[in-house]
């Protein structure tokens, strides 16, 4: 018979391989080490960590001081882009933050939050929401999303915000979503999205 047929017929046999029991035991240990570090072990290692940490801290401080001008430069460049008059420049700034910077930098996040509430351009706002979604645990970002939901009236941005709170499973957004669903001024397509988000959050 032909090669393809043969292989097809005997596929299971051909594919069959067995992981050695030594490897299995090894994996259990590996899994525990990497993903299930119990607290007891941490306490034992603390002494060693303390010494290493203080050394590390010294070195890190030096490195930090050296890098400060560089980080600051990048930060300054980003900030100036984000506050630029031209839409293209602001948008470039947000995209650069998303693609290259992406650090939980307080000053930049503050600027991004202000863009979220005040910018005139829809694309800039949507890109900013994407940027802020990179920090789901940040409490002030979550609160800002809820606040923005109440104030926003541009449909595309509303939809993006609705998707954002749904992704974050943000229960406190339910009130704002309800307002959107009940308001006569909302576009039907936004209402649909809000209804679906409510269902998603309530799960």
């Amino acid at each position: 018979m032909k090669l393809k047929e043969f292989i097809h017929q005997n596929k299971t046999a051909i594919q069959e391989e067995k992981m050695s029991s030594k490897a299995d035991a090894n994996f259990e240990q590996l899994l525990k080490d990497k993903l299930h570090q119990p607290k007891k072990q941490k306490v034992v290692f603390l002494k060693f960590i303390a010494v290493a940490a203080s050394l590390g801290l010294l070195i890190a401080t030096f490195v930090w001081f050296n890098n400060q001008p560089e980080i600051n430069k990048k930060q300054q460049q980003l900030l100036s882009n984000l506050e630029n008059e031209s839409v293209g420049k602001r948008l470039e700034g947000v995209y650069t933050f998303n693609d290259e910077y992406a650090k939980e930098d307080d000053k930049i996040i503050e600027t991004l939050l202000s863009i979220l509430h005040k910018d005139e351009n829809t694309n800039v706002k949507i890109a900013t929401i994407d940027a802020l979604l990179k920090f789901p645990k940040n409490e002030s970002i979550r609160k800002s999303f809820i606040k923005a939901l109440e104030k926003e009236d541009v449909p595309l941005v509303q939809i993006k915000l609705i998707k954002a709170v749904s992704f974050l499973r943000e229960n406190r957004a339910q009130k704002s979503l309800e307002k959107i669903i009940n308001s006569e001024q909302t576009f039907p397509i936004v209402k649909n999205n809000a209804t679906l988000a409510m269902a998603e959050i309530k799960k």
Binding site: S86, V87, G88, L91, E92, Y95, N121, T122, N123, V124, I126, A127, D153, V154, P155, L156, I159, K163, S166, F167, E184, Q185, F187, P188, I189, N192, L196, A197, E200
Partner: protein, 326 residues
């Protein structure tokens, strides 16, 4: 002698034609052209210092037809009224604003008045110039470094209109084009827009472009960028014939499709999100993910073409994305 006469006649004829070309020229080459209108515009960039507007449709007579057409079945119909007599005409029409899933139906009263006799010899006061004698049915305002085209406020209608304008703008301008009246809603919560079969288009333009549409389709040709487009249900088509993209393109759509040509010379880093992405271009697929757009699966990809210099951020939401070889 006869020869000279012939030429003179021809020259005069041309001059006459020139006058009758119904063009409005505005000296404006620094700043932003802001358009708040859902009418059909074919905008072309050029190297010059004037904004030139030409209407491509037949002029309407004074107080003549306003045709109201509905897009949904029950209750809407054509209503046209041309009034020559002096009495105010009152008519009733139902207006429905719609795109695929939106619809609001409200009843409206329409008032028509005809005071053409009284207007004779008088000019309309105010900065909002009235150019209806040139077949231009939107207002033009100039405030410092902003030139504004705005739809005249109408009662809430959708109008299928054959109005179409050719506008030539200097490449040194910025363009901010919103296909609504520049306020997303008025107090009564209605949305009004005109609709026409052909997409509005922008071509051969080098300045910074912002376009915002709800359901109108847009065609961009030879626009080098930066281009910032957002639309809810409109489709965005991008072509490149003589130029290629040099600056950022950012397109967000909720469910309209994005169809873009990729010219060979370009150097692009494309981040694309859409229901699916179709292409015949030799991209290098750097990343590929199936994302949950919260309640639907969409495709998210990072594609590199050439050296990957210019950023393209294309997000068609639930719509599809087509990337074509030139």
């Amino acid at each position: 002698m006869k020869y000279l006469q012939k030429i003179t006649v021809i020259l005069i004829a041309f001059a006459f034609l020139g006058l009758n070309a119904q063009e409005k020229k505005i000296k404006f080459y620094k700043g932003t052209l802001k358009i708040c209108s859902s009418k059909n515009f074919q905008i072309e960039g050029y190297d010059g210092d004037e904004v030139i507007i030409k209407s491509l449709h037949e002029k309407k007579g004074e107080n003549s037809v306003y045709v109201v057409n509905g897009f949904r079945n029950n209750g809407t119909y054509s209503y046209s009224n041309s009034s020559k007599n002096k009495l105010a005409r009152v008519g009733k029409a139902q207006s429905i604003s719609s795109s695929s899933s939106d619809s609001i139906v409200k009843g409206r009263l329409v008032f028509r008045s005809n005071n053409s006799e009284r207007k004779k010899g008088l000019i309309k006061l105010g900065t909002k110039s009235n150019n209806s004698d040139l077949g231009i049915y939107f207002t033009i305002e100039q405030n410092g470094d902003e030139l504004l085209f705005k739809d005249q406020s109408q009662v809430g209608f959708i109008m299928t209109s054959n109005e179409s304008y050719l506008v030539k703008i200097p490449n040194t301008l910025k363009l901010n084009w919103k296909t609504n009246n520049c306020k997303d809603r008025d107090r009564s919560g209605e949305y009004r827009f005109f609709s026409s079969k052909n997409p509005s288009s922008l071509s051969n333009f080098d300045g910074e472009t912002e376009i915002s549409s709800s359901v109108n389709n847009i065609k961009l040709k030879d626009v080098t960028g930066p281009v910032v487009v957002n639309t809810i249900g409109g489709n965005v088509t991008v072509e490149f014939e003589k130029k290629y993209p040099k600056n950022l393109y950012s397109i967000y759509s909720n469910n309209g499709f994005i169809d873009m040509q990729i010219p060979n010379k370009s150097s692009l880093m494309v981040d694309v999100i859409g229901k699916s992405v179709y292409s015949d271009v030799d991209f290098k697929v750097l990343e590929e993910e199936e994302v949950n757009d919260v309640w639907q699966k969409t495709t998210k990809m990072k594609l590199k073409f050439g050296a990957g210099k210019t950023k393209m951020k294309l997000n068609a939401g639930f719509g599809e994305v087509f990337l074509r070889k030139k």
